[in-house]
């Protein structure tokens, strides 16, 4: 298993190099530069812009700047300063990354907590009314655009709820990680997490519920389940110890595959909920043509994605001994 993990990590190095090159090239080839908007300030003279370009190294050809960036990033682990505020991009990322991990982590957890019971229940109660209802809800959840759902939740549970001031419908914060006026405590932060988590998790809940239901249905029809039942085992034991254990293999694969999707979804959800994480940071950096920041966030997303897939593979091996053997 260790050799397998090392091999996977080594394979990811050229992948990351490729990602970094493509990201750098794309950012530098699209119209605009970090100084484009400054250059349109009538108080800023062309000579000022030229001086700033020189100071920031933007007067060099982009392939040369890529090689310099690569050397700094690989040898010194220094991703350089932001073109926008000259702060080290790693500082900004370290400030934003925990927020994104909290959001994606809670969405992942919430998805599992909801989809596993729903999927199992749906499979066990195959073709009954609740099974059909769960199916419809699952299809709806993975069909609804996340940003639209987010806006809908904000309008209902935040804007309208604070306007109506109903006792049974407490208003939730519309954005941010804590209230500026009354916030900072655990409860306040938890309240801020509710709507973004639900929104980000909704797609996974829909997909995983359907997959778990399908896997469970298949597992429940297998001989070993029939054998377990014939041995007189309790139904709960049969479902969770035998059928679900095998259905879990599919779920673990899905979790690994879902991690890039969660980070991708976070890009939008963070924007909708003014969540100060990597998504907001990336969108802001792209619009400002903050090359170093975009480069660093892209690499980080790539690392997280590759790492997620690796963890998924390793977990798969832990659950299924046949994988380890092969």
């Amino acid at each position: 298993m260790a050799r397998y993990a090392v091999r996977r990590i080594l394979i990811s190095i050229p992948l990351l190099l490729g990602v970094s090159f493509i990201a750098f090239a794309l950012m530098n080839l699209i119209p605009g530069s970090p100084l484009t908007q400054i250059s349109r300030n009538p108080k800023v003279k062309p000579a000022d812009v030229a001086r700033m370009e020189h100071a920031y190294g933007l007067d060099k050809p982009w392939p040369q700047r890529y090689l310099e960036w690569l050397e700094r990033a690989v040898i010194h682990l220094d991703f350089g300063p932001s073109f926008y505020n000259r702060l080290p991009v790693t500082d900004r990322i370290w400030a934003a990354l925990p927020n994104t991990l909290i959001l994606t982590g809670s969405a992942l957890l919430f998805s599992l907590v909801v989809s596993i019971p729903l999927g199992v229940y749906s499979a066990v109660h195959h073709r009954r009314l609740l099974d059909r209802v769960i199916n419809i809800v699952a299809v709806a959840l993975y069909s609804i655009p996340l940003f639209w759902l987010g806006i809908l939740l904000i309008i209902l549970f935040s804007v309208q709820a604070s306007k109506w001031q109903l006792a049974w419908l407490p208003a939730l914060p519309s954005g941010g990680i804590a209230s500026a006026r009354h916030g900072g405590g655990f409860v306040d932060r938890f309240k801020h997490l509710i709507m973004p988590t639900i929104t980000l998790a909704s797609f996974q809940i829909g997909v995983w519920t359907a997959y778990i239901r399908s896997s469970m249905l298949e597992a429940l029809g297998q001989d070993y389940v029939r054998t377990a039942r014939s041995k007189g085992l309790r139904e709960v034991w049969v479902i969770y110890r035998h059928a679900f254990r095998n259905a879990l293999l599919t779920l673990i694969t899905l979790i690994g595959l879902a991690i890039p999707g969660l980070f991708g979804g976070a890009l939008l959800i963070e924007y909708v909920f003014a969540w100060p994480g990597m998504g907001s940071l990336t969108i802001e950096a792209v619009s400002r043509r903050d090359y170093t920041m975009v480069q660093a966030t892209t690499i980080l997303f790539a690392v997280l994605t590759i790492g997620g897939n690796l963890i998924s593979d390793l977990l798969y091996g832990l659950v299924d001994p046949r994988v380890r053997t092969s």
């Binding site: 699209i30 119209p31 605009g32 530069s33 484009t36 908007q37 400054i38 250059s39 349109r40 300030n41 009538p42 108080k43 800023v44 003279k45 062309p46 000579a47 000022d48 812009v49 001086r51 700033m52 100071a55 920031y56 300063p81 926008y84 505020n85 000259r86 702060l87 500082d91 900004r92 400030a95 934003a96 806006i151 904000i154 935040s158 804007v159 604070s162 306007k163 208003a171 914060p173 519309s174 954005g175 941010g176 990680i177 209230s179 500026a180 006026r181 963070e270 924007y271 909708v272 909920f273 003014a274 100060p276 907001s280 940071l281 969108i283 802001e284 619009s287 043509r289």
Partner: protein
């Protein structure tokens, strides 16, 4: 400067125009460069422009800062605070660039540093013009019109308790002039300022490079004063990354403004606390929190849920605020922003817009009353000339030409210029060239989408076929400036408080300023030189009206409307008085019922 989101909030569309041209039509000859296309000032002169004012060089002594403050305070119904322990929570879209006033270039950074650092002079919130204030108690302008003597406030101290002296001011000038500092304002400063001399610890004298009507605005407003002893040993090449600029070391952020820097959680919020040493009296607020949002909708929702004390409002959000008068109040005022379309007048790129009659036809074809009423929902003013409503040179009644909606006149102007529909396809053409082209505009605003769709229909009705193309803002700038192969583009713009317009219409401003059009009229440039050298504002006004008339008749750009700023405040916020030039001051703001 060209703005991104404000104008997105106010564009709209329609067509046309009309109004008989009361002045001489000053068209370039079709197909020729715009070398000298305009009527002479005398030909297009309005009655006001008939008198030719001369530069005024009377010695001038300003009021003292306390006199100005008393006048300003009398003009606003300021409430005495019920508490001096309140917190003000406001917002910004986008993070800070820096805490160093020499490096920041746009909001919210400029606003934040203005709370921490005083500028050389202050601004009158009633007019936007420079006044005694900032670190200056009063100033004098010499008879030569180039010598400015600033008498500093004797009671001004830094937030760490040390005295502000003229040496600090001189050091700030020296820093601004130093090209090794990657400041966006060094070029302007060096253009404007010839030299300076410390007279005594409370007095400093500057000399401008020639007579410059905008000297105090260009230099006085944008030069913040920093503490010499904190910065003199830091190489200016390192200022941008110094902990005193990045906020990583709050003890190095020392100013003379009403607030002190507390913290900056990047991408989240900035916190400022009251400077108890601020004179003449400390601010009423205990602290200020500026929350950072990436998106206006999130910002607006945070306001509705009570997390913010005030917010900018887009026209379609007005009714939401008006529906809750027990919680919020709405404030609307005209601002310096306008929406316009620009033509590419470079004959090497396109021959379609060389004739001014063609350009006028575009404006006559737009029903701008409908644009303002139906798309801006009434939150704007139809433009008549390039000067905005709040400009001291705003004179709509003195424009030679009023472009009221008149599609028939638009068709006639096109026909007069040789553009007719010879092949029956519904689009006018001339010499085999169809009046059909791509029309660029910034993406990301439903309101601008609506406006452009409206313009497309209106122009189609007179035989002009545009194909709208929405571009991301930086891409749009590239398409109109770096490689200006565009035909027409839509933009929003905001003048500074001088209301000088050379940055857009000056011959030298092509690919340097905002003259994307490659418009050039040497007579207009000469008139601008005269305006720029006329220090007395009243004497300057007729010249500026003359300037506006030339631009209005030439139509190198089509100004559609002047926008209004709409803001909402929670009723707990007091003494804010938002306006085009700010209010009496952040030090008077307070918040009740926390």
């Amino acid at each position: 400067m060209r703005r991104r989101s404000p104008w997105l909030g106010r564009l709209l569309a329609v067509l046309l125009l009309s109004g008989l041209m009361s002045g001489p039509l000053v068209a370039a000859q079709d197909g020729t460069p715009m070398a000298s296309p305009v009527a002479s000032p005398a030909e297009s002169a309005s009655p006001a422009a008939a008198a030719t004012p001369t530069a005024s060089c009377e010695p001038f002594t300003s009021e003292t800062s306390s006199q100005v403050r008393d006048e300003v305070n009398a003009a606003y119904p300021l409430e005495q605070p019920a508490t001096t322990d309140s917190s003000y929570v406001t917002s910004a879209t986008g993070d800070l660039q820096s805490i160093n006033p020499f490096i920041v270039e746009s909001d919210p950074s400029i606003t934040v540093v203005s709370y921490i650092f005083d500028a050389l002079v202050g601004g009158d919130p009633r007019t936007g013009q420079p006044t005694a204030g900032g670190v200056t108690d009063f100033y004098e302008i010499g008879a030569d019109c180039v010598t400015y003597t600033f008498h500093l406030k004797k009671d001004k101290v830094w937030s760490d308790g040390s005295d502000l002296t003229a040496d600090d001011v001189a050091f700030s000038f020296e820093s601004m002039a130093d090209e090794s500092l990657a400041s966006p304002y060094t070029g302007t400063f060096n253009d404007e300022v010839k030299d300076w001399t410390v007279i005594d610890p409370d007095t400093i004298q500057m000399t401008s490079n020639g007579v410059r009507a905008d000297f105090l605005t260009s230099v006085g407003f944008s030069t913040s004063i920093i503490k010499k002893s904190l910065w003199e040993n830091v190489p200016r090449t390192d200022w941008a990354t110094d902990p005193g600029s990045t906020g990583q070391d709050p003890s190095r952020v020392v100013g003379t403004g009403p607030f002190k820097f507390d913290s900056w959680a990047q991408g989240q919020e900035i916190k400022l606390t009251r400077n108890d040493l601020f004179t003449p009296q400390p601010a009423y607020l205990k602290d200020i929190t500026i929350r950072i949002f990436a998106d206006h909708e999130a910002e607006f929702n945070a306001f509705l849920t009570g997390d913010l004390d005030d917010v900018g409002v887009e026209s379609q959000q007005v009714t939401t605020i008006q529906d809750q008068p027990d919680q919020f109040k709405l404030i609307e005022y005209p601002d310096r922003t306008f929406t316009y379309y620009e033509f590419n007048l470079n004959p090497d790129t396109t021959v379609r817009f060389q004739d001014a009659r063609v350009r006028e036809a575009f404006m006559f074809a737009l029903d701008r009353d409908s644009i303002v009423n139906d798309i801006l929902l009434g939150h704007g003013v139809v433009a008549n000339g390039p000067q905005p409503v709040i400009s001291y040179a705003y004179a709509p009644d003195e424009m030679n030409t009023t472009y009221t909606y008149d599609p028939d006149k638009a068709k006639q102007l096109l026909a007069d210029a040789g553009w007719t529909d010879t092949n029956g396809d519904g689009t006018v053409d001339k010499d085999g060239v169809e009046m059909a082209f791509d029309f660029l505009y910034p993406s990301g605003s439903a309101e601008s989408d609506t406006l452009v769709a409206y313009m497309q229909d209106a122009w189609k009705a007179v035989g002009i076929a545009i194909t709208p193309k929405a571009l991301e803002f930086s891409a749009l700038i590239e398409a109109t400036t770096t490689t200006p192969t565009f035909e027409m583009a839509l933009y929003g713009f905001s003048w500074d408080s001088t209301f000088f317009q050379d940055s857009m219409f000056g011959c030298e401003q092509y690919q340097v300023g905002f003259n994307d059009m490659k418009y050039c009229n040497p007579e207009l440039d000469a008139l601008f030189d005269q305006i720029s050298a006329t220090v007395d504002q009243q004497a300057r006004i007729p010249l500026m009206i003359q300037y506006s008339n030339i631009v209005n008749d030439e139509q190198p750009i089509g100004v559609i409307d002047f926008s209004t700023t709409i803001r909402a405040e929670n009723l707990r916020l007091h003494n804010s008085f938002p306006g085009p030039w700010g209010g009496p001051g952040i030090e008077y703001v307070w918040v009740s019922d926390q």
